[in-house]
């Protein structure tokens, strides 16, 4: 064997590390949440080192954005985090509005909050559900998908699309909510509060095997989380209660009452996979709380033209802007430079929450077991469309 190797490839047997095996997990793997490839150096079941390789889904978002006009970028933002498109286009719309100094009407703001929170519930349904599937529990996933379907029906009813909406326009919205939307929204919330959420807490989050599998796995202390710039539920799972909806309110979030859940470490050190998922599950409930208030508010408001403030021609003056919002996966920031000459942005840079979450992966995964690697990827809740853009 050794001589054969030497002749064929010029290797020596001494160069081969016989104890460790390189395992390529992905890009086609059932639980890497898209096309992520992880290079694992494994020693039996234990992972010595893990290196994520990203870029399989790169679609030149930033270059595209430089070559279309300002409203034309919105469909491209939808395709970044395709699990939570509403949040992406909302962030972009906020950035351009800040650049041009447009104030949207309270009616539009309320609808935007409703859509963003519905999207947050839908996105967390996918996150927690697929996480359960990664751990091996198949049933909660389908229960959650059932409710996500209801949300998508609401979206389709409103704007005609189920996944990529192009809904939040600069200065307004593409469509007004249809007649009877408030009633349908309440119907969904009633079912969510009464059935889906308690079922999720019983069946998955409170399950003893689930707790054993996730508590104490992938522990990320608060200092580490902050130094690696984790945001959203990933950061809150580690302890710091940072939420842009509370800290730097936008779209009228200051008018709603809701809690910011943080990881408590009920079953082990704070910042474990369990805490991140627990935070997501509680956040769904908090989003439902916001939705109740927002739907009440919308009912009392008079219908208005949602395209009233949409400019005929979007051509901002020379300048630059950075605007951030709390997308379901964390802080989504848009940095836009306008040169004042053309109708398209000079530069659009996205600060993506998933990209920073992925950057901590190699630190947390050291010394884990293979099954825990899956648990860790799922708990960081990355969407490869947003990492690669």
């Amino acid at each position: 064997m050794s001589t054969q190797l030497q002749e064929q490839y010029g290797w020596r047997i001494e160069d081969l590390d016989t104890d460790e095996m390189i395992l390529n997990m992905g890009p086609q793997h059932p639980s890497t949440h898209g096309v992520l490839r992880i290079e694992l150096r494994t020693d039996g079941e234990v992972v010595r080192a893990a290196r994520p390789h990203i870029g399989y889904l790169h679609r030149c978002f930033e270059k595209h954005a430089e070559n279309v006009d300002y409203p034309g970028v919105i469909p491209y933002t939808d395709r970044m985090d395709y699990v939570a498109s509403m949040g992406n286009s909302l962030g972009y719309a906020l950035a351009v509005e800040k650049l041009m100094g447009i104030e949207v009407t309270p009616y539009v703001q309320t609808i935007r909050v409703i859509m963003a929170e519905l999207q947050r519930i839908a996105s967390h349904c996918i996150a927690v559900g697929t996480y359960g599937m990664d751990i091996g529990a198949f049933t909660p996933f389908l229960h959650l998908l059932r409710d996500r379907e209801t949300i998508l029906d609401l979206f389709e009813w409103t704007c005609g699309a189920r996944l990529l909406y192009n809904y939040n326009w600069v200065g307004g919205l593409s469509h007004d909510v249809p007649e009877g939307f408030v009633r349908a929204g309440r119907q969904f919330l009633r079912e969510f509060d009464r059935v889906t959420w308690p079922e999720l807490m019983d069946l998955l989050i409170g399950n003893k095997i689930f707790i054993k599998r996730t508590a104490g796995v992938g522990v990320c202390p608060p200092e580490l989380a902050i130094s690696y710039d984790l945001t959203g539920p990933n950061l809150r799972g580690s302890g710091p209660a940072r939420d842009l909806r509370k800290d730097v309110p936008y779209s009228g979030y200051e008018n709603y009452e809701f809690e910011v859940p943080v990881g408590k470490g009920q079953f082990g050190p704070v910042g474990s996979c369990f805490d991140r998922n627990w935070v997501r599950a509680i956040e769904m409930k908090e989003s439902a709380k916001i939705l109740h208030q927002a739907l009440d508010r919308l009912e009392k408001m008079e219908r208005a033209d949602v395209r009233e403030k949409v400019p005929k021609r979007i051509k901002p003056a020379k300048g630059e802007v950075y605007a951030r919002s709390e997308a379901p996966r964390g802080q989504l920031g848009y940095y836009i430079v306008a040169d004042g000459a053309g109708i398209n942005p000079y530069r659009v840079k996205v600060k993506s929450p998933c990209f920073t979450a992925m950057s901590i992966f190699h630190v947390l995964s050291r010394g884990m077991m293979i099954a825990d690697i899956i648990a860790l990827i799922g708990s960081l809740d990355v969407v490869l469309g947003e990492i690669d853009r």
């Binding site: 095996m21 395992l23 793997h29 059932p30 639980s31 039996g44 079941e45 359960g132 599937m133 990664d134 751990i135 091996g136 529990a137 198949f138 049933t139 389908l142 229960h143 059932r146 079912e191 069946l203 998955l204 399950n207 095997i209 689930f210 054993k212 599998r213 077991m369 293979i370 099954a371 825990d372 899956i374």
Partner: protein, 391 residues
């Protein structure tokens, strides 16, 4: 088998009669085993659908009854792909071994007082021995596939099955001590006299614990959730059968459901009275008696419990799996062996505790009531949901 043996005229040579009787029995058993999984897979998809608030198969045939047949036909006609660098001989041999290991156990399962392949006097020992053959097949499949995931799956399954056989053996020892024989037919006959005499209620609460330990270990041995780590689809893609397709994959599938059946059948033979009815009055309705019906009813109930667990629980991790086997089940098994052994030696408790015969019916009654309550409330809930959707 002796029943069929007697049907042939004595004028035929002895070996011809043995061969023909054996052939008929083997043919009947193999048909039963090969066709059974078609029903089990259909039931599993329907159970999963019910638990997940969806419909399940419904397009092929009435209520989707022909869905699994269509699936099986599709699998049989698919091309069997051999990966580059695979050891082709081992690659083909492995699924055959797994299926053989699963099928061989059927020979000794008593479906009735005389309805049994053959009543080996070391029946229990035989079941344990042949069910380990499949492990060899799994490791072979993992190694021959030339795939790292398959290799991981094979290693995991080897570790898992070796670990879980030990607590299972410990629990089997208690049964063997009570019965005084390894023969499965003798085990069933010990439990004559209706439900309170079943071994499940002997030495209450010791033997119920033994039954649970055995069933748990059995779950692990047939790689069912929550112990399905050798084929953990979210970690190892498909574990040891990652590279298999077509007919050979179908064989693995067949083996999985056959093993489920074997584990459930052995559990019902050992603890649930085998082919005895819950009450002697229910034993002999009809001309031939209801033995097989009762055994199948108990077995299918246990298989339903397996499906129920699979669609409810998450999966354990490898080290937690080992923890459960060595630090939870094995000590319990050892204590049970010691306790049951001592109790058998004591004169007063030779045949169980005095209260054993009184706990059976109340316990079963409570369990059935609880299950019915759960079923009814689930059905009511889904009916309400359907009305809400229609409204």
């Amino acid at each position: 088998m002796d029943l069929i043996f007697g049907l042939f005229p004595a004028t035929l040579p002895y070996w011809v009669r043995v061969a023909m009787a054996g052939g008929i029995v083997a043919g009947a058993l193999i048909t039963f085993m090969a066709l059974g999984p078609i029903a089990y897979v259909y039931v599993e998809t329907k159970v999963a659908g019910f638990m997940q608030d969806r419909i399940g198969p419904k397009r092929v045939g009435p209520h989707g009854l022909l869905q699994t047949i269509a699936d099986a036909v599709k699998l049989l006609f698919k091309e069997a792909i051999f990966p580059a660098g695979a050891d082709k001989k081992l690659f083909i041999l492995a699924p055959c071994l797994v299926v053989i290991g699963a099928f061989l156990s059927f020979v000794v399962i008593p479906f009735g007082s005389r309805l049994q392949g053959t009543d080996l006097n070391v029946g229990l020992f035989y079941v344990v021995a042949v069910s380990s053959i499949s492990t060899v097949g799994l490791i072979m499949a993992g190694w021959a596939s030339n795939n790292k995931y398959a290799l991981f799956g094979a290693m995991r399954s080897a570790a898992q099955i070796v670990s879980y056989e030990i607590p299972a053996m410990m629990v089997l020892l208690t049964v063997v001590m009570i019965v005084g024989s390894l023969s499965l037919q003798a085990t069933v006959e010990t439990q004559a006299g209706g439900l309170p005499h079943w071994l499940l209620f002997r030495y209450f609460p010791l033997m119920p614990i033994a039954a649970i330990v055995f069933f748990t270990a059995g779950l692990a041995e047939c790689n069912r959730a929550p112990f399905d780590i050798p084929e953990a689809e979210s970690e190892l893609v498909a574990g040891f059968h990652t590279e298999y397709s077509g007919f050979f994959f179908a064989l693995f599938f067949l083996a999985e459901y056959s093993e489920m059946f074997v584990v459930s059948a052995v559990t019902s033979v050992l603890f649930l009275g085998g082919w005895w009815a819950p009450h002697p009055l229910l034993q002999n309705l009809g001309p031939i008696g209801l033995g097989p019906v009762w055994l199948l009813a108990k077995t299918w109930f246990l298989m339903f419990v397996m499906m129920w667990l699979r669609w409810t629980l998450p999966r354990l991790r490898v080290d937690q799996l080992m923890y459960v086997a060595w630090k939870v089940l094995l000590p319990i098994g050892l204590v049970l062996v010691l306790a049951v052994g001592l109790l058998i030696m004591l004169p007063g408790t030779r045949n169980g505790f005095p209260w054993d015969h009184y706990v059976g019916w109340p316990l079963v009654g409570l369990t059935v009531l609880y299950l019915l309550y759960g079923m009814v409330s689930a059905l009511r809930w889904s009916g309400k949901r359907r009305r809400e959707i229609l409204a």
